[in-house]
Chain length 150, copies 2
DNA sequence: GCTTGACCTCAAGTTCACTTGAAGTTGTAG
DNA sequence: CTACAACTTCAAGTGAACTTGAGGTCAAGC
């Protein structure tokens, strides 16, 4: 089993080396040794990183993800937890669909100004209400799509 | 036309007074005078705040929203811009739906461990790819649902 | 044996949208 | 008149997830 250095892991995963170091510091991934100063990773870290990406995409924080990763690099996610997150996504999706439909309407609405369009005004009220109404959610970064420098 | 003080605006809009001051500082809203030190707002600021909430819900930053508000407190949003944001939401929605379906499956999948479920593994690959593939997006706070202290 | 460049550590900085805290001012109730 | 609650300003802090910078180390190639 050949080990990968951080540059290789970064290249194959598309995650910046600084982020990999950060993940290791946080306990999300593990390096298995050093060559000189340089970290070495097992190839399975790539699968682990995929898992982390999935967690992030689903809206879990890194801390939550950490708690789902068992020491040995395997995962221990309860099915309940997954179902709960799916429900959460469902409500996000419904909200976004309402927004999208509203925006779509406003974009092609014939009212002279948006403020005169009843659908748009309804949207505004929905948004204002949405700020308070739906079950509390933290900012959660969705689909960061970080692009790397070089 | 009776003017509202900041406490009243806060109460009616559900937005913290500190946030209202912050919005004013940023040029998103305007106070029309003072009684003593205290800011006074026109009632239409409430509609303005709804507009801001809508923009935030659609994923615009405060800066972008500022650029859509014409000086007089009316808006100047191009229909193209709305349509573009609707398209963006659409792609977000598709992505979230894929995630939700995957999570839903994993939650009731009969594989002994998630890592042995092919659907889950496919999800992981999708998430890992999603980090690089889809058109770049900034973290954007979605559905903050800030709750107020008191 | 020396240079080079890729890595290392650690602290501090970034972004966004606010919040919090300290210290000051003011209209109003008593 | 005085106390007080409710506002005010301004600076600094928050949290998430990293990035950036300064200064250091090391294996490999010439």
């Amino acid at each position: 089993m050949k080990l990968l250095d951080i540059a290789e892991v970064s290249r194959q995963s598309g995650i910046a080396a600084s982020a990999l170091r950060f993940y290791e510091e946080k306990g999300l991934i593990l390096s298995v040794g050093r060559r000189g100063l340089k970290r070495l990773f097992e190839p399975k870290v790539l699968e682990q990183l995929g898992l982390i990406a999935l967690g992030r995409a689903a809206g879990f924080t890194l801390e939550e993800i950490t708690s789902m990763l068992a020491p040995a690099g395997k995962l221990k996610i309860s099915r309940d937890r997954l179902a709960a997150k799916a429900d959460e996504l469902d409500s996000d999706i419904r909200y976004l669909i309402a927004m999208r439909n509203g925006l779509r309407h406003a974009a092609r609405c014939s009212a002279p100004s948006h403020m005169e369009c009843p659908t748009f005004r309804k949207l505004i009220r929905a948004a204002a209400a949405g700020l308070l109404a739906p079950e509390g959610k933290k900012p959660g970064a969705r689909r960061s799509g970080r692009e790397r420098k070089s």
